[in-house]
Symmetry: D2
Subunit: 198 residues, 4 copies
């Protein structure tokens, strides 16, 4: 079961690349590039495991030299006009994340939504949306046949797992793109990596 | 670059499955099963992005009904004899994590190390080791040719990225295996999922 | 200035005891006692420094044997009907905390507000309110004369400092009361104290 | 019991001021002033409730304009030569905090210990120590008589409570002193206060 689940998740990640929309990605990267060049702050928000994916991304943005903060950290700078809030939520409906994104809009920040649902409350209020597939977006049909064949009645990757793992890999690829555009080497990142951490 | 990096990471994850060692995995799962049946506490420890991978795993253990805690959370129960400490560190050398694992041994807890290095300080003190490949374990040679061909001098996935993403997918597959062994459905997990979170 | 500020804060804390309302306190303690006896979960929520005061209180509730969680921790159980949500906010207006408290009401949990403002959004939706003075509640007049005399135009304890320090001491006194009612000794608490923590 | 405990804590805080040593405080403030003027980073470390006291202090340092980080946050900058690490531990013996302080010394950072024990491992490796009384430092004798008279066999403020509450007020007084020296107003702090937080 472990191997089958591993394959299901890794195949999902591999296949998702074909589904991710280039124009959305380009808008996202462009906003990040502008933020970097114009010293805009970035605040990353997300709940539960989506929040952890956001934190992993935020760490790499920090290593790249961004002025980045994470909702839930002790040290958070205020968000101002034209700063960037990156909100990660598979469903796009997590109450506290939508409330936080609304607060960001109120002060004139730009909101980027990383979500599976283009018509969710979070996506609707966002300036830029990047759709990342989750189980509900791609795999229902596929799964239907797979489950028939396999005699399974439960998905192997429960709840938001596919969205979360897929978003994690996608955001790590965004980091590679930013490294390339900024001419940053791995050694540059290492210099900004925390040396006392837990 | 983004697409190439995405492919590099997703291919690495796919290929890693062949490298992960079944007996190590079976020992790991067995300890988790015993912990579940005997009401042992689990403490998950890790620093930086490895710590986030550990937190994502800990959330799912919680959803499965484990009595689980995370180093760094406000609410942490004491670790006792025969409790389980799961330590995640690609290098197996992170000072605070090794110190925490040593403290766990002192009180008689069992330490499971998820790491790329079987001969690291963390792995050496652990009762069970699960080797998860990172860049240094598998891809140096592959990368060598790839880089020659592509003219790249820097890896696309910097620092611990490959270990972290690979460990995340592996641990999600462990969750699928535990769901299967415990007869838990996705709905069972949903019942234990936080409904107020950030 | 440091000594004057220290005295201002410690005097404020000392004087606040006369202002705290016994019936409010008794309702609060009663809810906690009931939660303890009936295995109700407690979720502590608060933002910024008020959130830290809440976390310090939550740790002691854990040491006392409560099934307690903190908004922002990795490991959080869902809140059910009749569980307790303790919300700490000097102003009673912090957007995310009010949203979280509303979510708690929706699932039938009881909300306890620790706040300086009885007429705030948080206090209005709460089942039990405990008013803890902050600068705006007590010290404006006092400060007025003090400032005239001292020629100061700024308070020595900025923003929510007085509320936060006062709430911290008040909640530690609540812990003493609960120890007394539950017949718990310091050694009992020590047994539940984390032995691997950061 | 609640009122008696409240009084015991607030009296302890009030009385502690006479015990805190001016030269230690002056060294501490001087290091902070230098850090501010020379753009040194500050990393605040502490475990459990002492860690929360450190976080509350770190927030105010951030509001004052310091480049400050907290062990345990997602976003943490590396510590370099001449940066400042502020370690808070009543006992001065918390394993992970001593390990972290040692790591700080290795990279040439200056360590400030806030502790009750001048001869603890943490204090011994620190460049500057500020002794803050806890139960063990002041109140043993007083308590002895108090307990005889009152017939109590347990202190009303368990474990590190007195140290933690006292350190919190002391550090808030340090903030007032820094505001004064830097000519900062409450409005200045408000400008740096997070506007989206939890």
């Amino acid at each position: 079961m472990l191997y089958r689940a591993y394959l299901q998740i890794s195949n999902f990640i591999s296949n998702a690349l074909a589904v991710i929309k280039s124009p959305q990605v380009e808008n996202f990267i462009k906003l990040l590039e502008d933020a970097y060049k114009n010293d805009r702050r970035i605040l990353v928000i997300g709940a539960g495991r989506s929040g952890l994916v956001g934190r992993a991304f935020a760490m790499r943005l920090k290593h790249l030299g961004f002025d980045v903060y994470v909702l839930g950290d002790t040290i958070v700078s205020p968000v101002r006009k034209d700063d960037i809030v990156i909100a990660i939520s598979g469903s796009g409906r997590t109450a506290l994340i939508v409330t936080a994104a609304e607060a960001a809009k109120t002060v004139g920040a730009k909101v980027i939504a990383i979500t599976s649902f283009i018509d969710s409350p979070l996506a609707r209020l966002a300036d830029v949306v990047v759709e990342i597939p989750g189980r509900t977006k791609i795999s229902h049909v596929e799964d239907y046949f797979a489950r028939q064949v396999l005699g399974l009645h439960e998905p192997l990757a429960p709840l938001g797992t596919l969205f979360e793992d897929c978003a994690a890999v996608f955001l790590d690829a965004v980091i590679a793109e930013l490294m390339h555009r900024f001419g940053k080497t791995e050694e540059d990142l290492r210099q900004e990596h925390a040396n006392i951490e837990v």
